[in-house]
Amino acid sequence: MRYAVQAEGLMKRYGETRALDGVDLAIPEGRLLGVLGPNGAGKTTAVRILATLLRADSGRATVGGFDVAKEPHKVRSLIGLTGQYAAVDETLTGVENLVMIGRLLGLTRAASRQRAAELLDRFALTDAGGRAAKTFSGGMRRRLDLAASLVGHPAVLFLDEPTTGLDPRSRTDLWDVVRGLMADGVTVLLTTQYLQEADELADDIVVFDHGRVIASGTSDELKATTGAQVLQVRPTAAHHLPLVAEVIADLIGERPDLTGGEATVNIKDATVVPAVVRRLDDLGVVASELSLRKSSLDEVFLALTGHRAEDQTSAQEAPTKEKEEVPA
């Protein structure tokens, strides 16, 4: 298999903090790798090293076969980068932003204009293309930003939290765009704090925490590695909950989580479920809900790291609502 991106033992320190503590990554050509982790896990640092913006303290990485430290110029000619903030010049129009990139990449004026028109059309920005980017909504800016990273037909695209701060609709719109790129054969590295996003888009997922890769595999593999299926039981009568907990603890050997009026527990062996049902029946406990399902990536993350993926960020993100209104 040919790899578009390979990294071995990447380390990066900032003073005492180890932003990256020996990270290995490999993305086969044409695949999308989701890098999942909370704020401060080292995702952005990894992207910046791979995109030649930052040098690793040690370890090596190649993009398209070129060493990011030794041949950065060749790497830059292969990649597109969309960072956490929509990196567009707000005083320029949508068209001018894209023409500028085209000209910098050596296209003629006419070719730059044509490429800009193509991309604006593809990202449903044609009507807004003549307006200054500062009048764009958050979602439109992100689309323009993504368009800017595609001007040079990159073979490898880095998307660093492309949907952070977007409303749900803009987010799903952006997902569609990313799927379109994958259909064109582009290799993508996407970082995200959203488990659902990795689940939706990624062929493979690596989970970062404290500068290390703590798990990797497909979404299904990750869900399977933590063992887990999840049993949830919600008794009709709330006062039966302690009884349910006792039954589960007795038969499964683990105390369930009781938040939200239901007992939730990871189980490795689904054959125990009938026994639970029978015991509850014997005790006269009626369950209004009883389910067995594969654990979500959220639960996988919790099991792997001991904390929830979005805990640390939800508090910070709540007040920064990105503006979504589209001026007429």
Partner: protein, 270 residues
Amino acid sequence: MTSLTGTAPRAAVPGRIGPAAGLRHTMTLAWRSLVQIKHNPMELLDLSVQPIMFLLLFTYVFGGAISGSTSEYLQFSLPGLVVQNMLFATLTTAIGLSTDISKGVFDRLRSLPIARSAPLAGRIVADTLKQIWAFALFLGLGTVLGFRVQTGVVGVAGALALLVGFALAMSWLSVLIGLVAADPEKVQIMAFSVMMPLTFTSNAFVPTKTLPEWLQRWVEVNPVTHLADAVRGLLSGGPVATHATISLLWALGIALVFIPLSLRAFRSRA
């Protein structure tokens, strides 16, 4: 639908960027800094408000008190105002750079296969053109108000060259501020707290002999004084050589200190 990406054959990429390509990148980025003026002529007004305001205020508010007549004061103060405005205008570079960094535009540019120097050089080229515009505006408006160039074309060209030369040296300080400042507002604050005292403790607006003696000693060293005197000489006649030489030595010193510091900050910028 047209293919968005990778299927087009890619030209072989050279490992290095030649000077011609580097110049092209610089000009593209200079265009980027200037093109806003085209569809937003208010930008040009922004560039011009401070020169116009200062020229009018200084001439008509302080002129009588300082020189006894506004026309006499204008002849004295216009070169000083030109110098002050040039120094303030060098901060445009810092503010632009800092904005690019905080918005992520700087990273986007650095991730492109372009000359490493182009993002800095492009800004400096554009800001130099803005300097020339401000100089022309000062001379034009000054002439309307009664300022008279008493030397000629060579004197004016010399004054412009000296100002641009000094501005280029100062823009490296500006680059450093732009790279290390946390955000564009901080640049403004840092800038004003340096530039205001620097330009006012000179003979740009008042004759040195009217100042307290301890201040005179600094004023005689201050590069703003020498620049203002050199520009006075070049526009109104009078001694030029010594003041111009001292100004250029200052410019050289500033460049020697701040070019390495800026380049270091540029390279280590994470």
